[in-house]
Every structure is written in structure tokens, then in C-alpha cells.
């Protein structure tokens, strides 16, 4: 990128504000003046983005086509289309129970991690206490470590406890990254609430429990909703941890698809897997689109600015 821009010579005004559509040439560009010419960097970025989208759309559409296609070998498109693979996959992989497991795990993880995480987030947002740094690091670590690194010892413990391949184990392992995640998401939400409201309630004689149920909870509902949806996305998409402890009766959708792809003897028919993958992606996208309606992704990092704009 640097060489691209250097070779073009003229001082380019304003990298962040290019107007890619405008093609008028302005003769001399003073520093600070907006360039009306799409600079090489702009083209470079747009070309990269385009390539990214080509791959993305290619991947999506080819899986889509594959899941509907009958006998697709050496041609641009399959010979004919049908929905047989979907009904086939539904029966073959017992999708009703797989989706049931996925939802059970997801909702159990959401409820438990909110119950555990919100009070902890409240304390971390409002109080100072000894060893606070250490506690925060403790809650941050599972997010910073690759799931496999703590997943393997954790799964070993689970198997030793006789919990291997059970639903309980799947829920427990999924809590490990979810609780810190709820804490991380909720802390900015709690910081946004004016502490004087709580003080007023406490002055009026409300105890901590009543402050929580009557004052904080209603104010925190948007935050809790946002955190829950993000946990839902993470849990439904979590592969590694679930894979390490789940068994045939406790596989979530991702793991079921992976097992189908890597099953002994070259795996299942490709189209069956494609149709499952389509089901997975569509449900994930629905969740994410719902999530984006409730929470702005930038809110998680840029807290104060976002709240001011509301």
C-alpha cells in the first residue's frame, strides 16, 4: 500500500475522505483540501473489498446451489434442483434433536451466564476492592486463550467426573468463555447508569436486592438483551469446546456438521452437509440481524460517545 501511494507523487489530501465515485480531476491539491480523484489506495481498498466479496458470495452461493442441486459434477450448474437433500439431511442426522440440543444449550448458557455475570459486572464497574485487578484478569483470561488450551484440560476433568458426552458437560464448558463475555459486555452498560439513581433508592431504604430488582434490572434490560444475543451467537457457533466434550446425543449443530464432514469413509454426501450448513447459516444470520437491531457493535468499545448520541 505504501509503495502504491508513494509512486503516485502528488500529496494526497485526506486518506479518510476519498470520494470513489467522483472522477473529476482537480489540478493542484493543497494539503488539507479534499481530493476528488480516487487515489490508488482507494482503488486498492475497493479491489480488495471486491475480492473479499467475490469469495464470500461465491462460498455462500455455491453452498446454496449445492444444497439444492442434483448431481453437480463438471458443469456450471447442477442438472436439476430439488429440496430432497434437506428432507434427507433432516432424517439422516436427526436434525430435530440436534437443533433441540443446540437451543437447550444456548438458552441454558445464556441464563446461567447472565445470572453469574451481571452481579460480577456490577461490582467491577462500580466498586474498587483489593485484588480487583487480579479478578478482572481472571475473568479476561478465558477470552484471551484459545479455547483448545483450556478446553482439553477441562474436557479431561469432565470425562473424569463421568460427565463426558452429556448435555451438562456441554453447557458447563460453554459457560467458560460466556461468563467473562457477559461481564465484558455488561460493564460499559452499567457504567452508563447514573449512580445517583441507586444512591437515591438506597437513601429511601431499599436494600441491595431491591435496588437490583426495582432499579437496575429495568435499566439494564437492553444491556442484558444485547449480552444474551451475543452469547447466543457465540454458543451456537462455538465449535472447539463443544466438540471436545459432546457425544452423539449432545452434539450441537456445528459439531454435528463437522462430524458429518469428517465421518469415516470420506464423510456423508456433500449435498447433505451443504444443506445442513445452509440451515446453520440462515439461523445464525437471523440471530445476528436481530442482535444488530438491539446492539450497535461499536458500542462495545466506544462507550461514552455512543451513549451521547442516543
Amino acid at each position: 500500500m505504501a509503495t502504491q501511494t508513494a509512486s503516485s507523487g502528488t500529496p494526497r489530501a485526506d486518506l479518510p475522505e476519498p470520494l470513489p465515485r467522483a472522477r473529476k480531476r482537480s489540478a493542484a491539491v493543497a494539503p488539507g483540501e479534499r481530493s476528488l480523484v480516487a487515489s490508488p489506495t482507494t482503488w486498492f481498498v475497493w479491489a480488495g473489498t471486491a475480492a473479499f466479496f467475490i469469495f464470500l458470495i461465491g462460498i455462500l452461493v455455491s453452498v446454496m446451489v449445492d444444497s439444492f442441486g442434483k448431481s453437480w459434477f463438471n458443469t456450471w450448474l447442477p442438472d436439476s434442483f430439488s429440496t430432497d437433500w434437506y428432507t434427507g439431511a433432516w432424517d439422516r442426522f436427526d436434525m430435530t434433536s440436534v437443533i433441540g440440543v443446540t437451543l437447550t444449550v444456548a438458552f441454558a448458557v445464556i441464563i446461567i451466564s447472565v445470572l453469574i455475570g451481571v452481579p460480577a459486572a456490577y461490582l467491577l464497574a462500580r466498586r474498587t476492592f483489593p485484588l480487583k485487578k487480579l479478578v478482572s484478569v481472571l475473568f479476561l483470561l478465558p477470552v484471551l486463550m484459545p479455547p483448545i488450551t483450556y478446553g482439553i484440560p477441562l474436557a479431561t476433568v469432565m470425562y473424569n467426573l463421568g460427565l463426558g458426552r452429556t448435555l451438562t458437560a456441554v453447557i458447563l464448558v460453554n459457560l467458560v468463555p460466556s461468563v467473562p463475555f457477559v461481564i465484558m459486555t455488561m460493564t460499559p452498560f452499567i457504567e452508563q447508569i447514573n449512580p445517583t439513581i441507586e444512591s437515591a433508592a438506597r437513601m429511601s431504604g431499599a436494600n441491595m436486592r431491591r435496588v437490583f430488582t426495582k432499579i437496575l434490572m429495568p435499566l439494564l434490560i437492553p444491556g442484558i438483551l444485547a449480552a444474551s444475543i451475543l452469547v447466543l451467537v457465540r454458543t451456537v457457533g462455538m465449535f472447539e469446546l463443544t466438540f471436545l466434550v459432546s457425544g452423539p446425543q449432545s452434539d450441537t449443530l456445528v459439531v454435528a456438521i463437522y462430524r458429518a464432514m469428517t465421518a469415516a469413509g470420506g464423510g456423508e454426501a456433500r449435498q447433505l452437509i451443504s444443506s445442513m450448513a445452509v440451515v446453520y447459516t440462515i439461523s445464525m444470520m437471523v440471530i445476528l440481524i436481530v442482535a444488530l437491531r438491539f446492539v450497535s457493535p461499536t458500542q462495545l468499545v466506544a462507550r461514552v460517545k455512543e451513549s451521547r448520541e442516543d
Binding site: 469469495f55 456490577y122 476492592f129 461468563v179 444470520m285
Partner: protein, 311 residues
């Protein structure tokens, strides 16, 4: 063991004043709200982790026989067995370039998307959407789309750019594509939110002093963005470093993409050698924390302070 018990006896001796003094330092009954989270963290994270570390010193008989070294046999095996040790290098060869690329590529894209233009929201949504794809669908899609018979090769053959279908999957390249597709949206999301936290007036001030965009980028934006860059790099690196399903599905699982996660899983589920699996997992954590440490060290040399936009 002795330190807390001493504290407790002292506590029973002078309850009233101690409670008061403790409350002043921020210790009171409301800290009990932290207890469930702490219990959870200790039971599900600290305990298994220390259990795993303990397990690494109980090598199986087979490992001990082959590599020797007594209780350190697992570590001896890890460092001396090229089949296992090479996976460190193979993981790095995938994760470092992928994380670097994702972070560096999202900087210009985030810049372009910083200002209002038509279709910005749509473009942002489209860029973020791949987060939902999941590694498994990405893998399946790459196999179909970029495979020998796939549309990509078919198109390139048709327009005469290549004579032979390119092998883009079932190798290093396939995993790299998968890492970029799943990692880039994430990096982009983080970088653009960090970028939105930089007060535009700082840049405007530099502009009035006659700084061109290169100077503004190097002297103003980059220092302010550096902490965000470090965080983004770390998080993307963790994602890329723990690559597992795609390394197996679109990679060359026993060759160029034999990553540490795969080796750990192999020891865990296929060889049922829990001590060795834990050793690989722990070493994976160590290697990962080393990289994070280097990044944090770099960050400590950069500007630390307000970015103007955020509180």
C-alpha cells in the same frame, strides 16, 4: 494454607472495627455478588487448568519409555518429537500472517468507511456478516467454490488466465482463505470502532498546521490507534492461532496445516493420552501468551492516553 487462617483468627478477635475498616477499603457484604462468578472461574477455569498442568507431569508409560526424562517425559516428547514440535512452527506460519493481514487490511477499509456515503451501512453489514458463517460452512463453501471443479477455477480457466486448475484448497492456502474470511470481519469491526473513538478535531488540528495525510497518519492517527491495533491484533491472533476445524477440513491436516490444536485433539480423542494432550494444550497457551506479551511490550512503547473521543 497458613496465611488465610491467620487472617481469620485475627478477624474474630476484633469484629466491629475490622468490618468498618474493611468496608472503607471496599470490602463489604456486597462483594458476595462476586462469589458466583469467582466460584465459576475457579471451578471451571483455574481448577481444570492446574489439573491439566499437574497432568503434564504424569506421562503415560509409552511416552516415558520412548522419550525418557521421568516426569518431564511429556515435555521431552513435545520438544524432541519433530511430528509434534513442528506444529508450533506450522501454527505460527498460519496464525501470524493471517492476523497481521487481517489487522493491516482492515485499517484502510475502516478509514474508507469512516465517513458517510451512500450504502455505508449496507457495506458494513455485509463486511460483518461472515462472522455468522462459522468455520464449517466456510470450509464447505471453500471446498465447493475454490475446489478443482469450482466456479473460481472454472472461471479462470474459461477466461484463459490459467491452464491448470489451481489447487486452492486442501492445503496451506485454503486454511489461510478460511482464516481471512472469518477473521477479517472481526478485525474490521474492532478497528472501525477504535477509529470512531478518535476525536476528528485532533486530525483537523493537524490539518490546519499543514500536515499532509501521510504525516497525519504517522504522527496523529497511528499513535492514537496503536492501543486499539494491539488489542485487535491480539484478539485476531487468538482466533487464528486456535484454528482447528478449518485446518482439518480445508487444510492438509497431516502436512502443512498440522496445527497445534489438531495435535492436541489427536492426543486427546484419538490416542486418549490425556497427559500428552494437556501438555500440548498448555504449551499452546504458553506460545500464545508469548506472542501476546511481545505485542503488549510493543504497545507499552507507544502513546498511552486519551484518544479524545472516548471518555
Amino acid at each position: 494454607m497458613s496465611a488465610p487462617s491467620i487472617g481469620r483468627t485475627r478477624a474474630t478477635r476484633s469484629t466491629a472495627s475490622l468490618r468498618h475498616r474493611l468496608a472503607e477499603r471496599g470490602i463489604d457484604t456486597s462483594l458476595l455478588m462476586l462469589v458466583p462468578a469467582l466460584v465459576f472461574a475457579i471451578a471451571l477455569f483455574i481448577y481444570p487448568f492446574s489439573y491439566g498442568i499437574g497432568l503434564t507431569f504424569q506421562p503415560s508409560a509409552a511416552i516415558q519409555e520412548q522419550w525418557g526424562g521421568g516426569i518431564f517425559a511429556n515435555y521431552v516428547a513435545f520438544f524432541k518429537d519433530p511430528f509434534i514440535f513442528d506444529s508450533v512452527y506450522l501454527t505460527m506460519r498460519l496464525a501470524l500472517p493471517a492476523a497481521l493481514f487481517n489487522v493491516l487490511a482492515s485499517i484502510p477499509v475502516a478509514f474508507k468507511l469512516r465517513h458517510r456515503f451512500r450504502g455505508k451501512k449496507l457495506l458494513t453489514t455485509l463486511l460483518v456478516l461472515p462472522i455468522t458463517l462459522g468455520t464449517v460452512l466456510t470450509a464447505q463453501g471453500l471446498l465447493i467454490f475454490a475446489g478443482r471443479q469450482g466456479w473460481l477455477n472454472r472461471f479462470l480457466l474459461q477466461i484463459g488466465l490459467i491452464d491448470q486448475p489451481l489447487t486452492l484448497v486442501n492445503n496451506y492456502l485454503g486454511v489461510m482463505f478460511s482464516l481471512i474470511i472469518s477473521g477479517f470481519p472481526f478485525a474490521f469491526l474492532l478497528i472501525s470502532s477504535y477509529l470512531s473513538g478518535i476525536d476528528p478535531s485532533i486530525e483537523a488540528a493537524a490539518k490546519t498546521m499543514g500536515a499532509d495525510w501521510k504525516q497525519r497518519f504517522r504522527r496523529v492517527i497511528l499513535p492514537l490507534l496503536a492501543p486499539g491495533l494491539a488489542t485487535t491484533f491480539i484478539l485476531t491472533f487468538v482466533l487464528a492461532f486456535s484454528v482447528f476445524p478449518s485446518a482439518r477440513l480445508v487444510g492438509d491436516a497431516m502436512g502443512s496445516t498440522r496445527v497445534m490444536a489438531l495435535m492436541g485433539y489427536r492426543a486427546f480423542a484419538e490416542q486418549i493420552d490425556y497427559p500428552m494432550a494437556s501438555t500440548i494444550a498448555i504449551m499452546m497457551g504458553v506460545v500464545e501468551l508469548l506472542v501476546i506479551g511481545v505485542v503488549l511490550l510493543w504497545r507499552s512503547f507507544m502513546y498511552k492516553g486519551s484518544t479524545g473521543g472516548k471518555g
